[in-house]
């Protein structure tokens, strides 16, 4: 009997030791575990022109950083899904990233809608989330765990109106698609106009899949604006400039960053000449002054992206470049992937020189870009981007 108890005692002891050893082992592996980056982008669907370069950029830099030895001595592991710009899929994938892939941070949300849809989940799960969408609503009001890297539409349209006033224009027409990206820009274009003394004489909308906007431009011509502000992106943006050349070539056309890619100029096949576009400095990197702190980063990104994918990066790719690097820098400062510490460090991002601008975040500003660096005014000349100084 005694020997039996003794036996049990030994077994329990052995089991405890084994379990303890196992725990120690898992503890050790947690230290060695790769840093898990979760991401969801709209690589297909209506917003695919935004999501595709974002996905490519993330893959490119996760690979590159891993080849260079990773961060904090740990490799990076990227979990990335295509949300197709659909809020429902974004929610499911975010749950998958948090619960199943157990990621340390989430980057994503090419469209404002899908970013908004996952906010309740990331707030509840208490995981840092850096959104890639333009809408101000994502960070206004400030939410504890939510950040974003793209400059806001408000900055873009303010920049356009400033230039318009300098040229003596006071009446503007707005043309936009019916998708979320366009809608956000259109809303700001109308709101900001009031504060800057610009009259909106026409506000025309086209369906995102529409391939002909000549009725809209005919109406705009009738309203006789001094200039037109375009809010589209992707295919819609190309068709807008082509129809503009067809119907209202005499009226100057401005565009926001939605068309910030060389593909846009090529697709327009000459129709983009003289169009003025507020865009990330990425597209005019060579023309920046050598003293511009962003120049080096911009040129490097352009070169690396082009080498890998055989095409110049679109402005949207820069959003995920900035998000990834801000996140990794925060992890480095936090000395690990503790979510609360990383969140605090993201909020403390200061003077981060990114693609989209120079970031200075704070508890009251979870985007951290300023008006001067975020967008540059450019003009298309001979199928190329030229900085308007």
């Amino acid at each position: 009997m005694r020997s039996f108890l003794k036996n049990i005692g030994t077994s329990v002891l052995a089991a405890t030791l084994a379990a303890g050893g196992l725990l120690a082992a898992t503890g050790a592996s947690a230290q060695q575990r790769p840093i898990r980056i979760g991401a969801f982008t709209a690589t297909t669907g209506g917003a695919s022109f935004l999501g595709d370069p974002q996905e490519k950029t993330l893959r490119l830099y996760v690979d590159k950083i891993n080849k260079a030895g990773g961060v904090l001595g740990r490799k990076l592991e990227l979990f990335i899904y295509d949300s197709a710009g659909d809020a429902r899929q974004a929610v499911t994938y975010t749950r998958r990233l948090i619960e199943d892939n157990e990621v340390d941070i989430i980057i994503g949300g090419s469209a404002t809608g899908e970013s908004m849809a996952v906010i309740p989940i990331v707030e509840e799960a208490q995981i840092p989330f850096i959104s890639l969408s333009g809408g101000n609503v994502v960070v206004e009001p400030v939410r504890k765990w939510v950040f974003k890297t793209p400059g806001s539409d408000r900055m873009a349209v303010s920049k356009i109106y400033t230039d318009m006033k300098a040229r003596g224009f006071s009446k503007a027409a707005v043309i936009s698609g019916d998708g979320g990206f366009d809608k956000s820009c259109q809303k700001e274009a109308v709101t900001v106009a009031k504060t800057m003394g610009i009259a909106i004489v026409a506000d025309e909308v086209y369906a995102q899949a529409d391939t002909d906007m000549t009725p809209q431009f005919t109406r705009i011509a009738g309203a006789k604006p001094d200039a037109i502000v375009g809010c589209g992106f992707g295919l819609g943006g190309v068709i807008t400039v082509r129809n503009h050349r067809q119907i209202t070539p005499q009226i100057p056309l401005y565009f926001t960053h939605g068309v910030g890619s060389q593909q846009f100029v090529e697709g327009a096949r000459g129709a983009a000449e003289n169009v003025r576009i507020t865009v990330s400095p990425l597209l005019v990197a060579e023309q920046l002054d050598d003293s511009d702190p962003q120049k080096k980063t911009l040129l490097e990104y352009t070169k690396e992206y082009q080498e890998k994918f055989g095409e110049k990066p679109a402005a949207f790719g820069g959003f995920s470049y900035d998000a990834l690097h801000i996140a990794l820098a925060a992890m480095q400062r936090a000395g690990g992937t503790d979510k609360a510490k990383v969140r605090d460090e993201i909020e403390r991002t200061k003077n981060f020189i990114g693609i989209d601008g120079i970031f200075n975040m704070s508890p009251t500003d979870h985007m951290g870009l300023d008006f001067n660096t975020a967008f540059r005014l450019t003009e298309i000349k001979n199928n190329g981007w030229h900085l308007v100084k």
Binding site: T44, V91, R95, R96, E99, D100, P120, G135, G180, S184
Partner: protein
């Protein structure tokens, strides 16, 4: 109304037990999120299958009823401050009303007119949801408050799953009772041959209208629960592609089969998740899988498997073949 057979009661009990056990088996809430979405799609499909599988009518706009339910709950709860259950009922009433008017207009005609009417109506609904920014939040969608019942607020993915699971069991139960009722038999007669049914004195338009309204209400309830489960709705929910997806679910699972609706809904909900890692090849593979299922199981998964199961059963029973004929139409859960 006939009472349902013990077999069907057992089937419901098995389903309920499986749904109840799922949260225990599920490794983490992500799987519950998937299960929630599969359950809700199944609810829509069970209703849609009554319409297509029994009454022989096609709807290319069922997502619109889902959208009406979702936005009724979203708008009434978030902007008017109505309690979720009442909002859900309001969504049902709106959906039923729309379905009734549509059915009265086109169901007296023979042919695919309901398909066209639902297509047009569905797209118009999704355009309105997209454009009426002040009310619906436009293309960016809108947030929805948590579900609460008698002042008891629910939290997390569990609550959404619980609601969806209860809705699914109720939908299965309702569908089985319905199919075995006099109305159900009349519908089956209509689906087999309208002329013969008319000869038997069945008021075809009335029955078709009835089943269309019921299927719209199923979709609306699923939409309302979805709105609270995800706490977010977007116009894509009411879109044409979603409607087509629902049709694909019932055809792949099996027309005229309640179990088929569940299988089809689950399969097409899980498929994108299973193929998520294939990047550029995802679309291609999804299409290929759909085609292969349809080539090898043209009657749908559940009827085909049941038929082959029965054939196997018969082969090993030399005396007395199964009394039931293999028609591809099954009504058990």
């Amino acid at each position: 109304m006939t009472s349902d057979t013990p077999r069907q009661l057992i089937a419901c009990a098995v389903l309920a037990t499986a749904l109840a056990l799922l949260p225990i088996v599920a490794p983490n809430p992500y799987y519950l999120d998937l299960a929630t979405k599969a359950c809700l799609a199944a609810v829509v499909c069970i209703g849609l299958n009554l319409l297509s599988g029994y009454a022989g009518q096609l709807s290319l706009g069922h997502a619109a009823f889902f959208g009406v339910g979702a936005y009724a709950s979203a708008i009434l709860c978030a902007k008017v401050g109505i309690t979720p259950v009442v909002a859900m009922l309001a969504g049902c009433l709106i959906s039923a009303g729309i379905a009734y008017v549509m059915a009265r207009t086109v169901l007296r005609l023979k042919g695919h007119y309901l398909a066209m009417a639902t297509l047009a109506f569905g797209v118009i609904i999704s355009i309105v949801l997209n454009r009426e920014v002040a009310l619906t939040g436009g293309p960016d969608g809108m947030s929805v408050p948590r579900f609460n019942l008698f002042g008891y607020r629910t939290t997390g993915v569990w609550a959404g799953y619980g609601l969806a699971a209860v809705a699914l069991v109720l939908a299965v139960r309702t569908a089985i009772v319905f199919v075995n009722s006099r109305v159900g038999r009349a519908l089956r007669a209509i689906g087999d041959s309208e002329v013969a049914a008319e000869g038997l004195g069945i008021d075809i338009a009335r029955y078709k209208t009835g089943v269309f309204v019921i299927s719209a209400v199923f979709a609306s309830v699923a939409g309302s629960i979805f709105a609270h489960a995800d706490r977010f709705v977007s116009p894509a929910e009411a879109g044409f592609m979603r409607s087509v997806e629902f049709v694909a679910m019932i055809v792949i699972g099996g027309l005229g089969s309640v179990a088929g609706s569940i299988v089809g809904a689950t399969l097409l909900t899980l498929l994108p998740q299973l193929l998520a890692g294939f990047d550029h090849y995802r679309h291609f593979l999804t299409g290929l899988i759909l085609i292969l299922i349809m080539i090898f199981m043209p009657a749908g998964i559940v009827p085909t498997l049941l038929a082959s199961g029965r054939a196997l059963h018969d082969r090993y029973r030399p005396f007395g073949r199964s009394a039931r004929s293999v028609t591809g139409r099954t009504s058990e859960g």
